[in-house]
């Protein structure tokens, strides 16, 4: 916990030390394909997942299942007693293998497109916060942790609410995705722009 808090406290300091007075995301490499082609592809993929698998696309529950599996190993009784895992027992289901395959799909696209990065620090992060791996690790961990809390509370993430929920005109999904961007912009702006 101490390490994490120190990391958070170090963020503005590292940014102050780094050379650039604010970063521009457009200085770095962009997408390989048109966002409209990719967006339409994901839209069509949604038709198929609804039609053939009776499932909406989603990602965040994968991590909850993984947490449940690890919990069952380490503290089985505790895991079984928790409300969330009672409602949703950890399971290797459609959504679980979907996310595992997403990793592989990303790898295939990057390797065939000459975009495999093999790096521990994104260049834009480095330009802003320097090349300390511990800082990136602690902030990344905290970021993931907050995202999981938020996604479980809201009931989904950028995929489950942001695409699958919004396309079904689910009011809760629209609220969640708008708040997601408000929260994200509100934190990113002071961190990266001065």
């Amino acid at each position: 916990m101490k390490v994490l808090l120190t990391g958070l406290a170090l963020l503005p300091l590292s940014a102050a030390v780094a050379a650039e007075p604010g970063v521009n995301a457009l200085d770095y490499s962009g997408p390989a394909w048109s966002p409209y082609v990719v967006g339409a592809g994901i839209g069509v993929l949604s038709w198929l997942t609804f039609y053939l698998s009776d499932k909406p696309i989603g990602a965040s529950s994968f991590y909850a299942h993984l947490a449940g599996f690890i919990g069952k190993r380490i503290a089985p009784r505790r895991t079984k007693s928790l409300t969330y895992f009672k409602d949703k027992p950890p399971r290797v289901g459609w959504g679980f293998v979907f996310v595992v395959a997403t990793i592989v799909g990303g790898a295939i696209a990057a390797l065939t497109g000459g975009e495999f990065t093999n790096e521990w620090l994104p260049p834009m992060w480095e330009a802003r916060f320097g090349d300390g791996i511990a800082l990136r690790a602690s902030i990344g961990f905290v970021g993931g942790l907050l995202m999981a809390l938020g996604a479980r509370l809201a009931g989904g993430c950028t995929s489950g609410h942001g695409i699958s929920g919004t396309l079904q005109l689910n009011p809760g999904s629209w609220i969640a995705v708008i708040c997601l961007f408000i929260g994200g912009i509100g934190v990113a702006m002071p961190l990266y722009l001065r």
Partner: protein, 197 residues
């Protein structure tokens, strides 16, 4: 509520297995491969593209999402109209959607990837994705620890249950889908003019 043309009653007397049936797993893998491939090609596995959206410098993420919503919405509602698919609505809980969304956004800004794109980032060789994934698992556990409490409190604030926008507005669903599709497409044109990337 909506009729569920494809819903079958669960098989009685058999405990739910912790591993799904093979056909469901095979389609999950195939669709996941396609999803990861498309996201990587769309550049949304890249830290700077995702962060660029939150800094309002790079609008790739918005373009991908809005296009996916328009195409997905028209297709899924058409299929639903003809009874070919079920809808999968998550409950609208205003308090939880709001606070969860804000928390999620803050975490997204710190990590620079979201739960789906972090998987793409890992596949693409952006190894810092691993830190985020460990955090996601840890956060999921912490939520589970808090789930009894959140169910009694936050999740009750403004709980409307499983509703569609057309349940709340005095407009037929088909009309609403048409109006929103047009609005989103106009939005895309404006976005493209203002922000070529």
């Amino acid at each position: 509520m909506n009729a569920s043309p494809k819903t079958r009653p669960p098989p009685a007397g058999r405990p739910v297995s912790s591993v799904a049936a093979p056909p469901q797993l095979i389609t999950g893998v195939l669709f996941g491969l396609a999803f990861g491939f498309l996201l990587q090609k769309g550049g949304v596995g890249k830290f700077n593209v995702l962060l660029g959206q939150l800094l309002l410098q790079d609008f790739t993420v918005a373009k991908v999402m809005v296009t996916a919503i328009v195409v997905g919405m028209v297709g899924v509602f058409t299929l639903h109209h003809f009874g070919k698919v079920n809808l999968h609505l998550k409950p609208t809980r205003i308090g939880a959607n709001l606070t969860g969304g804000l928390l999620f956004g803050a975490g997204f800004a710190l990590l620079g990837y979201c739960p789906g794109t972090v998987a793409v980032a890992l596949g693409q060789g952006s190894w810092d994705a691993l830190f985020g994934m460990v955090g996601l698992v840890a956060g999921s556990w912490i939520f589970a620890e808090l789930s009894g409490w959140s169910k009694r409190t936050i999740e009750k604030w403004g709980d409307l249950g499983k509703v569609q926008l057309s349940d709340l507005l005095p407009v037929p669903r088909g009309t609403l889908v048409g109006i929103i599709a047009v609005l989103l497409i106009v939005g895309l044109f404006v976005l493209e003019r203002a922000f070529p990337r």
